[in-house]
Structure formats: C-alpha cells, structure tokens
C-alpha cells in the first residue's frame, strides 16, 4: 500500500465547497490513503451551514474513524507546538500562537503518522517543516495550487 496522505484545510475546504482538487482527493480515498487530522475536521465543521452538511460530515468522519483513519495530536504534540512557536519567535520575530497553532498541529499529525501533508499553504508549512527537522522529525509535504 502506498503511503498515507493527509490534507490541510486549505485543500479540503475548497474540495467540499466547489470540487477543487477533486481528482487528487478522490484518488486518495480510492487508494485508501486518505487520513483526516482532527484539527482539519474541526475546521471543516466550522464550514457547515446546514444540519444536512453537518450530518454528512458526521458520517464521513465516523466511517474514517471506524477504520482508524482519523488522527489527533497527542499531548506531547502540544508541548512541541509551543516549543516550535518559541523557536520561530526567537529566530524570525514574535508571532501569536493562536495564529499558527492549527497549522503546527496539522503538521505534527502528519509527521506522527508518516503521512504526506498535502497543502496550499507552502509558505508556512515549509517553515514548520524546517523547524521540525531540527527535532529530527520528518514532515513530507506536497504543495498544490488551484492555479495549476
């Protein structure tokens, strides 16, 4: 089986909204590589605008959870996320943790499961990848763009 893939909200929100990246995401489902991070799951719920959307998202998540394809940050990931923000602030200037917490936790989810993180958010994720590398944690990234 090919490696697992997890998708950032920057990909899944447009996918659910207007079908962007449909070939890419559908292929991941078909190959049973798709894995959902709970941080992205939270952001998807924020995008629901009807009880029906919420119900279908419940079913999607439950089906994936039944086969162990929903992953969540672990307590030590929150510790590491704080350290990463501190390191970033020392190197590049102060940032607000709340502005970056979700991105970092999604990156840590992917790293923890050795899944490739597929994202539009190249600028930020590359920085977190470099900082993770300092801790000898690997993060595989695949960048996508709707302009492709």
């Amino acid at each position: 089986m090919a490696g697992l893939q997890t998708f950032d909200s920057s990909v899944l929100i447009p996918w659910l909204r207007d079908g962007s990246y449909d070939q890419l995401v559908t292929a991941s489902f078909t190959a049973r590589q798709f894995m959902l991070c709970t941080v992205v799951w939270m952001e998807l719920y924020a995008g629901t605008r009807s009880a029906s959307d919420k119900q279908d998202l419940d079913q999607m998540v439950q089906a994936l959870a039944d086969v162990g394809r929903v992953i969540s940050p672990q307590p030590e990931d929150f510790y590491q996320a704080g350290q990463m923000v501190a390191y970033y602030s020392r190197q590049y200037g102060a940032i607000q943790p709340r502005d970056h917490a979700n991105d970092i936790l999604i990156a840590l989810c992917a790293s923890r499961t050795n899944a490739t993180l597929i994202t539009e958010n190249k600028e930020h994720m590359e920085k977190w990848q470099r900082i993770l590398k300092r801790s000898r944690r690997r993060l595989d990234l695949q960048y996508v763009s709707r302009a492709q």
Binding site: W15, R49, S50, S52, D56, L57, A63, L64
Partner: protein, 65 residues
C-alpha cells in the same frame, strides 16, 4: 444506544492465492480471514466517507457566506 450485530458466515470464494498472501502481508495479519475482512472494512468505509462528501458537494451550501 443500539448495537448492531455483526453476522460472520463461512463462504467459499475463489481467490488468487498469491494475491491473498500479498494482502495478508500488506495488512500484517496472521490469517487470511482477517486480511480479507480488513480489506472489506476499509473499502466500504472509504466508499461511505466519499459518498457523504459527495452529498455535501452536491448540496452546495458548505462554506458559503
């Protein structure tokens, strides 16, 4: 909460033994039944998850202001 009963039955299937062994190794199970069951579970789960996503896409309300 209702609990669904799972029906397990013995079925005779014609399968490619080489592929079956590859499947067992892929899923790291100690027998073929577990490997086939896991393949079925995953295939159905991903199919259900994608179908739910398709309904959201079709409705066209997700993420709209």
């Amino acid at each position: 909460m209702s609990v669904e009963k799972t029906q397990i039955a013995e079925k005779t299937l014609l399968l490619d033994l080489e592929k079956l062994e590859r499947l067992r190794k892929l899923f790291k199970t100690d027998n073929y039944s577990k490997a086939v069951q896991q393949a079925i579970d995953e295939t159905l789960a991903y199919s259900e998850a994608l179908a739910a996503a398709r309904r959201i896409q079709k409705r066209g309300t997700f993420g709209q202001n």
